[in-house]
């Protein structure tokens, strides 16, 4: 990620901004260096848009069906139709309707986010308890239920990163303030 060839230019900018420079020099000597092992063990973020930091391993749709039945179905329904947990399946084509159904298949812009979220937060009663292989598998199954993977698929870092979610292009930045009204005080 680092581009050493850009650093001299950036450094020059920093030097030019003397206030920044002065602040940058102020160190308190607080904390200690984190070891690579400490960082690696906690650094579970997966880049949603590019799959960066996805772990090795893989899982099949078929195995995912078993994991889902054991770990997920009680809240999300046996086919991902929802329950006390979010609906995960369907809803494609509803987002511009009066009753949008936001699911993994209809709404989520990025597939690797699914792995990231399941690994860090699911199942709700025992987060971070699934193996990476099981997370790949159950991710594969949820994508399969949404018609985004065939029944015989195997999912790994490369194939998960390659999936283009149907709703990916439908996100835009924040245009607010989007509602501008004058402050009427009389005869409003």
């Amino acid at each position: 990620m680092r581009k050493p060839d850009l650093r001299p230019a950036a450094l020059a900018l920093l030097v030019a901004a003397c206030t920044l420079q002065a602040q940058a020099q102020e160190r308190y000597g607080i904390g200690r260096a984190a070891t690579p092992a400490e960082i690696a063990a906690w650094n579970i973020d997966v880049g949603g848009n590019d799959g960066a930091n996805l772990p090795p391993g893989s899982g099949t749709v078929e195995h995912g069906k078993t994991v889902f039945a054991e770990q997920c179905a009680s809240c999300h329904g046996d086919k991902g139709q929802g329950g006390t947990g979010d609906r995960l399946v369907g809803g494609q084509g509803t987002l511009a309707s009066p009753k949008p159904v936001k699911t993994v298949g209809s709404y989520w812009p990025y597939a690797p986010t699914l792995f990231d979220y399941i690994r860090r937060a699911m199942p709700m009663n025992a987060p971070q308890s699934l193996s990476d292989a099981d997370v790949y598998a159950v991710s594969a199954y949820v994508l399969h239920l949404n018609g985004l993977l065939p029944a015989d698929a195997t999912l790994d870092a490369k194939s998960l990163s390659a999936i283009k979610m149907p709703n990916r292009e439908m996100f835009v930045g924040d245009p607010r303030p989007d509602v501008k009204m004058p402050a009427c005080t009389k005869d409003c």
């Binding site: 602040q23 987002l95 511009a96 409003c188």
Partner: protein, 421 residues
């Protein structure tokens, strides 16, 4: 307290004659007040019972709690949630004065329950695009130069755009609270590790069972963001992220990651579930807005407000709170004629940036049905819109960032209800 509740409609004539009646109800009878009213044995000319014997000794409550007569002033928990591990409870705005929310009444929103964290075992890891990745203990964090600032935090969905709308101020917009926060400028902590030139975002992660993760633009991190360990003078409550949270003044509540355990400096956002499938605002054409950080200017009349009752015509102070994620509140207007005309309310000092501001408006109610409402303008001259105006632009499905004007209807019998419901 008894003076405040001595004005029922039955006793009004006596009250006006200067004879303070003992019949209890209230000029402004919230549930809490009504239920605490009892007999007349302690009102003049009688000597109150609590003057005839000594009270509890000092120290009888090592950690003080409110009077037993205030036991109904509690956070409101909606009764329809599918589960309560990922859920919210609301500040009883209509029962509070001033701008500071008591710590026990600060709204709460959790996604994986409230972790019970031993601060001695809590660590903050700072890594990514930094020169020296660092790990901090809580003692380390408190060694940094400290600062205290007053800011609100507001949940992004407060309220949603669709019915049913809340009956009380708390039901409606109780997912906002305000406190004095103490901690360290995030900028200082980032500088301690040394930011690399490619640093554009900081991904914050909580140590809860949701491992809550949000991406924060570096500009905010180098501006007024703080790592916070105290709230209103005492250590953070577990519900507010004990022992450490990030505070991003004016940004939607979810980004103010609680139980903070990790900061990862990156070139791009991480596109976590909470910033893609949630906390994105769906428009009617199917386009969704992402990274909608700021909470726009807003206000609500908290008294008189839904669920309360005006006991009699006559003088009533209208008061409420206003706030803006974009800075200070510049002005609040109040309408007492259904929005046909507006008059400027008084703003109570202090008027602080990205903090609740209390407004007051003296008013005489003539006893006729009326709709009252407030409208905030912030220092950017942004004016709080009506719900109809918001919906005309965003539709009803955007869920988040509803900062609409909210009118209350007062009936001729004094009952107050949500005029939009």
């Amino acid at each position: 307290m008894t003076e405040a509740v001595d004005r029922s409609s039955k006793s009004r004539r006596r009250f006006l004659q200067g004879v303070v009646g003992g019949v209890a109800a209230g000029a402004l009878a919230g549930d809490a007040i009504a239920q605490t009213s009892k007999g007349t044995e302690n009102v003049p000319p009688n000597i109150p019972e609590w003057m005839k014997t000594p009270g509890d000794p000092a120290g009888s409550q090592p950690y003080g709690t409110p009077s037993e007569y205030e036991k109904n002033v509690v956070r409101h928990l909606p009764q329809n949630a599918p589960q309560y591990i990922s859920a919210a409870s609301r500040t009883p705005l209509q029962d509070l004065d001033g701008i500071i929310t008591p710590n026990g009444l600060f709204y709460e929103r959790h996604h994986g329950g409230i972790p019970n964290i031993d601060p001695a075992q809590h660590r903050l890891v700072l890594h990514g695009l930094v020169d020296t990745p660092l790990i901090f203990t809580m003692e380390d964090i408190r060694r940094f130069p400290s600062q205290s600032r007053i800011h609100f935090i507001e949940c992004s969905g407060n309220p949603v755009y669709t019915k049913p709308y809340g009956k009380t101020a708390s039901d409606l917009v109780g997912l906002v609270s305000c406190a004095e926060w103490t901690g360290v400028s995030l900028k200082l902590v980032l500088q301690e590790a040394g930011l690399q030139p490619e640093a554009k975002w900081v991904v914050a992660e909580g140590a809860d069972a949701a491992a809550m993760t949000r991406s924060i633009p570096i500009e905010k991190c180098l501006d007024d963001a703080m790592l916070v360990y105290s709230q209103n003078g005492e250590r953070l409550r577990p519900q507010q992220g004990y022992p450490l949270r990030i505070l991003l003044p004016g940004f939607e509540g979810n980004m103010n990651v609680k139980w903070l355990r990790r900061l990862k400096v990156t070139a791009e956002p991480v596109y976590s579930r909470e910033e893609t499938s949630k906390y994105t605002d769906l428009m009617t054409d199917g386009v969704a807005r992402e990274f909608t950080f700021y909470m726009e200017a807003k206000s609500i009349i908290t008294r008189p407000s839904g669920g309360q009752r005006l006991g009699a015509p006559g003088f009533h102070e209208i008061t409420g709170i206003a706030w803006s994620g974009h800075g200070k509140i510049k002005r609040v207007d109040v309408s007492v004629d259904g929005g046909k005309s507006w008059q400027e309310a008084q703003l109570q000092e202090p008027i602080l940036t990205r903090a609740l501001t209390r407004f007051r408006f003296p008013w005489h109610w003539d006893g006729k049905p009326v709709v009252i409402q407030s409208r905030a303008t912030d220092e950017t001259d942004y004016v709080q819109p009506t719900l109809a105006e918001l919906i005309s632009v965003r539709g009803e499905n955007s869920f988040y960032h509803n900062n609409a004007i909210w009118p209350w209807r007062i009936a001729s019998n004094g009952e107050i209800t949500n005029a939009q419901a």
